[in-house]
């Protein structure tokens, strides 16, 4: 399951794609935001789609982070949901604690997201120390294991807050709160009664920030080092690149992005359970990344939107919904990897690019 060691040739073309994709991804996000906002203002956005706005942005940010891991640095991470979980529960606790003292929701949201991202990044660093010593599939398994451990630990944490301050207990709930106190973390039941302060605008800003960070990283010296290490570890090491520090950088950034996504997610629902961030969620985000294309951020954004919408659009199929979803998933994987289909779309694409370029020249 090693992410393919792409040959030098594809790596360069990937790099070019990212270059072009950079403008495209920003444009896409801003365009979508403008259109959806306009529809919302005109009352044209159904409750269903309104309820999907924030979670979609969260998944996009988490997927962009994961793509940095899987696509750019070539480390298969099966525990992205764990980092989301750290970010989400940190943010929920921070926001719950500040609710009384800081009445401005927007400010609280920003603080909570920053702290959530920081906590996840810290976890990313700590976990990265052992994880990045491993390679290939073994690395993947260890991230899976850490994802499970994080879930298991959060499931056993109890954090209460009342007039006397914080109370924390592990495994068994020993918090004895004064009347009026609040359980910020209630073990397996997670957090309840969270004020929903996440907004679509915040989510969009977060996506733009994530793209900004990821692109800057890719184009920086470290970014080139990361990709060099991905394509040929030994050659990169021989040219004097410090593999572990470059890998660590991308791992920590990816975790931080997942944390910020989780933070936004956590503050979008009045209830958050630790079980939400299980292996299935990690896999789901990985599916968004693989379908969008490794290293391709614009693709990631589109595939996340399509795959989050898909089960919702299939709702009219009732009980057959998830079955069809599975079939569609398999078909997409088979079609996108079919040589004939690939060549066909390559020609279409090159024609499209040519016409676009010609059109651009004319316009100039």
């Amino acid at each position: 399951m090693r992410t393919e060691n792409t040959t030098g040739k594809t790596a360069i073309s990937l790099f070019d794609a990212a270059h072009r994709g950079r403008t495209a991804s920003f444009a896409l996000v801003i365009l979508l935001y403008a259109v959806l906002r306009a529809m919302q203002a005109g009352g044209g956005l159904s409750s269903l789609f309104t309820s999907l706005l924030v979670p979609v942005t969260c998944y996009i940010v988490a997927a962009i982070g994961l793509n940095l891991n899987v696509g750019v640095s070539g480390e298969l991470n099966l525990g992205q949901a764990g980092f989301m979980s750290v970010g989400a529960f940190t943010a929920v606790c921070v926001s719950g604690r500040l609710a009384a003292t800081l009445p401005v929701p927007a400010l609280r949201l920003v603080i909570a997201i920053i702290l959530g991202a920081a906590a996840a990044a810290l976890f990313g660093f700590l976990i990265g120390i052992p994880v990045l010593k491993l390679q290939g599939d073994y690395l993947a398994i260890v991230t899976l294991a850490f994802g499970q451990i994080i879930k298991s630990l959060i499931t056993n944490m109890y954090l209460g807050f009342d007039a006397n301050g914080f109370q924390f207990s592990f495994v068994e709930n020993k918090c004895k709160l004064e009347p009026g106190g609040k359980m910020l973390l209630n073990g397996p039941m997670g957090a309840t009664g969270t004020e929903r302060i996440a907004t679509f605008t915040a989510g969009t800003v977060l996506i733009i920030a994530a793209l900004f960070i990821v692109y800057n990283l890719i184009y920086s010296k470290s970014g080139r080092a990361i990709m060099a290490a991905r394509d040929n570890r030994i050659a990169a090491e021989l040219t004097g690149i410090n593999i572990s520090s470059t890998k660590m950088l991308s791992f920590v950034v990816s975790a931080g992005l997942a944390g910020s996504a989780g933070a936004l997610y956590g503050l979008n629902y009045s209830t958050l359970v630790p079980n939400k961030f299980d292996f299935n969620t990690s896999i789901l985000i990985l599916v968004y990344v693989v379908l969008g294309g490794l290293g391709n951020m614009t693709g990631t954004i589109i595939s996340t939107i399509v795959l989050v919408l898909l089960p919702e659009l299939l709702r009219s199929l009732q009980d057959y919904r998830m079955l069809i979803y599975a079939v569609v998933l398999i078909m997409i994987m088979l079609l996108t990897n079919n040589e004939k289909v690939k060549t066909f779309f390559k020609t279409v694409r090159s024609r499209f690019v040519k016409t676009a370029a010609a059109g651009g020249k004319e316009a100039a």
Partner: protein
């Protein structure tokens, strides 16, 4: 750029949706959720349903690991709606959405239902998703009564202090604390059952941990001795050898199981395999154990449980319901969830009739009328006589039964 991908994805998607839509039409799928056109605002939707049927929404897990509960609720609610509609008079239309036992999906389902023009709701089947949407029911002032979302977080904005109820979200099932207290009181009142209590509960489940927390507190008050507390969770829900060995080593003569019947069936089987035979005592989630397909009911002999519903009861109401349910579900016997859902629909119907609710009223007006009715009426259904407090909590007394020769016998 990934133009290729988008086109491919869209093409595949469209093809799949179309084929699936065709197959779904061939089947006996009940009225699919209509996507309301984007132009119609909420006000327009309510007006559309004038003179038609009152739209009941609801969501629960229809797929995934908890699907069994959602499927039971959905079917029972469908049966109730059909029966009521067949009588003439008030007409209802049911739209039940899948939330996969996930708060996120519950919120999306709520969006779907609102777009459809839901006027009254069965809220959610499970607790965590319920807690996520209760605030929305409150904000939009839509009446909701959950068949089985038993956590305090479903009806209280501040569940830690049981304060600040939403006021328009009601429960048909017991709240978790209610059952924990009732169990502890039962043990205190029946010392002959045993004196050393072991508890095995599911610690990642609201229902189970909720009951356990209250049970423990009440057991302390009652001076009961808990000799062992064992837990399990979703990823460990099959092997109970450790918990049972420990309970046996602690010489527990009562094993309290505030859990659902499927893991309970495993515990009973494994206890039997290791030759450990204490008195097992369950809560309402234990109901269903006798009708579990393939379960050797002799393992459940002598098990006590608190339940307001028994599928073997011989009153006409229960008999009719069990028959129609079996007929519709290939012989499966309804459990607690189904009974509660059936009652929910009938309670809504009773309240609507009493309040003179018609299909052309707005959801908000219906909500106000129903809240008034529910807090003042008494409802008699499959699960006994129910009244509701203003907080939305139901008041009906859990009854202890014991399983003898494969049937429930009153244990009082």
């Amino acid at each position: 750029m990934k133009n290729g991908f988008v086109k491919k994805a869209l093409a595949v998607l469209t093809a799949a949706v179309m084929t699936a839509a065709l197959t779904a039409c061939g089947g006996a799928a009940p009225a699919p959720a209509a996507q309301t056109s984007a132009e119609a605002g909420p006000a327009a939707e309510a007006a559309e349903s004038a003179g038609g049927a009152i739209k009941i929404g609801g969501s629960g897990p229809l797929t995934g690991g908890a699907a069994v509960y959602g499927q039971a609720v959905k079917l029972a609610a469908e049966i109730a709606v059909e029966e009521i509609n067949a009588k003439g008079g008030l007409q209802f239309e049911l739209n039940f959405q899948d939330d996969a036992h996930d708060p996120e999906k519950a919120v999306t389902s709520y969006g779907v239902l609102k777009d459809w023009g839901m006027q009254v709701s069965l809220a959610t089947v499970t607790s965590a998703p319920g807690a996520a949407v209760s605030q929305m029911y409150k904000d939009d002032n839509i009446f909701g009564i959950t068949p089985s979302g038993s956590s305090l977080a479903v009806i209280y904005q501040d569940p830690d202090n049981a304060a600040n109820p939403y006021g328009n979200v009601f429960q048909m099932c017991f709240t978790d604390p209610n059952q924990g207290v009732a169990s502890a009181d039962y043990f205190a009142g029946h010392p002959d059952l045993g004196s050393k209590i072991a508890v095995i509960y599911k610690n990642d489940d609201n229902y189970s941990s909720g009951i356990f927390a209250k049970f423990k507190a009440q057991a302390e008050t009652n001076g009961l001795e808990i000799v062992y507390e064992g837990t399990f969770d979703d990823s460990n829900a099959s092997d109970f050898s450790v918990q049972l060995t420990k309970a046996q080593a602690a010489e527990a003569d009562i094993v309290y199981l505030p859990i659902y019947y499927d893991p309970a069936s495993l515990i009973l089987t494994q206890a039997n395999q290791m030759g450990y035979a204490p008195t097992f005592f369950g809560t309402d989630g234990m109901d269903g154990i006798l009708t579990l397909e393939g379960f050797d009911t002799s393992f459940a002999e002598g098990v006590y449980l608190l339940t307001p519903f028994s599928a073997d009861a011989d009153d006409d109401l229960t008999k009719n319901f069990v028959e129609s349910y079996k007929a519709r579900k290939g012989g499966e016997v309804p459990n607690q969830f189904a009974a509660d859902a059936y009652d929910c629909v009938y309670a809504i119907a009773q309240a609507c009739e009493a309040a003179g609710v018609t299909a052309d009223m707005s959801a908000s007006d219906i909500c106000d009328a129903l809240v008034k009715q529910f807090t003042s009426m008494t409802f008699a259904g499959l699960t006994g006589q129910s009244t509701w407090a203003e907080s939305g909590e139901v008041s009906k007394s859990p009854k202890a039964v014991v399983i003898k020769d494969g049937v429930y016998v009153s244990a009082d």
